[in-house]
Symmetry: C2
């Protein structure tokens, strides 16, 4: 608590839940804490809000750039929820505003100035070893994953996990991995090509990997899906 004079009585933090798909699994970006409390444990990247003129959305974007080297306009970033249980940080009262980011699988570390040991951890693994996570971050991760899962249903966000050009198979695998559910490739194809503005054909074709080469697409202008693509597990 020697640093408590530097931080207001109720401190405000901004934490990031950054998701990607890697090796057929949903992964989350975690850092290893170097200091107490929870030294050595895995935690969401984040930091305290400075009291200057920085907007909280901008603070989240800045943290994201520091961790990944990516600008917020290159990927999806949205506010998830604010967590403020009284003793979630044993040092003092901390209220943390959490953000959800989705990005394609890019190499890490991405040359950010902040060279803390950020690593991709499969979400399943992180959530099955809750004791290794700092603070209430297991709960935050679970909320982030659930938000991502449900957003795939009625928005075009799945494309945020893909690179700039992708095949319909790539997109289907995003859905299958995030939902842990297999989808019929033929019906999926029809469904996504039927939504206006979801996908823009590039005209090119992907290198074949054993069969007929797939058409390549970019993400289209649509942001919501009409009709939605619904999960099975719902009822």
């Amino acid at each position: 608590m020697t640093e408590s004079w530097r931080i207001p009585t109720v401190a405000i933090a901004v934490d990031l839940a950054v998701l990607t798909i890697r090796a057929d699994q949903l992964n989350i970006l975690l850092v290893t804490r170097g200091v107490e409390p929870y030294a050595g444990r895995l935690a969401l990247p984040g930091g305290f809000l400075s009291s200057d003129d920085e907007d909280i959305d901008a603070a989240a974007a800045r943290e994201l750039a520091e961790e990944t080297g990516l600008s917020a306009k290159d990927l999806h970033l949205e506010q998830l929820r604010t967590y403020g249980a009284p003793r979630r940080d044993p040092r003092q009262r901390v209220v943390t505003i959490c953000y959800l980011a989705l990005m394609p699988d890019l190499p890490l570390p991405l040359g950010g100035g902040d060279a803390r040991a950020a690593q991709w951890v499969p979400v399943d693994k992180a959530l099955s070893r809750k004791r290794q996570l700092a603070f209430d971050h297991a709960k935050i991760i679970a909320d982030a994953v659930e938000r991502a899962r449900s957003k795939l249903e009625y928005t075009t966000l799945a494309t945020a996990f893909c690179g700039p050009v992708f095949t319909i198979s790539d997109l289907r695998q995003v859905y299958e991995i995030v939902w842990s559910e297999s989808l019929d490739p033929r019906n999926f194809h029809r469904k996504v090509t039927g939504v206006d503005g979801f996908l823009t054909p590039t005209g090119d074709r992907a290198a074949t990997n054993g069969g007929r080469p797939a058409a390549l697409y970019r993400r289209g202008p649509a942001r919501t899906l009409h009709p939605p693509i619904l999960r099975d597990g719902n009822p």
Copy 2:
């Protein structure tokens, strides 16, 4: 600014967007500010978070009880979003965690200890006179209404606007008013009675208001709607 010594450099507020249906309109609970800034303007009820051991959800519930006299377990209360633009409060940096509450139309003031002038204001009126609202509260109200609108689609939340017992007509009017859209009474009836756990019949019937008396229902155990009841305006 005489009280600024009591508030940390970055202050945390909890604000409430309390919605109800009154006189066939969606209404929001607003207070008239007595002090600068924005003295005399309408604002969302709320207050600063104390740095003691109060959870932020509990702080929202306490504010709600002070304004309406109702306990949080009697009505729906959920976190909406956190707003933290740098100059949203001209005095100092304030980050506000906003909550959305839905309640049936009950008389106000509800005998809370805090006798500030809380009043119901039709949402349309509030949003068409944005200049009369304090801070960024017009934006918050718009977000709250949009959240309520979309939650009616896939949750059973519409019952939160009704009293403990209600008719299917009452429920339909909730949808019609919140969505500003008229629905076919016959198809609506079939739809809601077809969702398992949405409605529990009481066995009683309402006093007639000109026609056959309607069956009375309580809210059932279901919290999500399968299938959803979708708005028209979507595509």
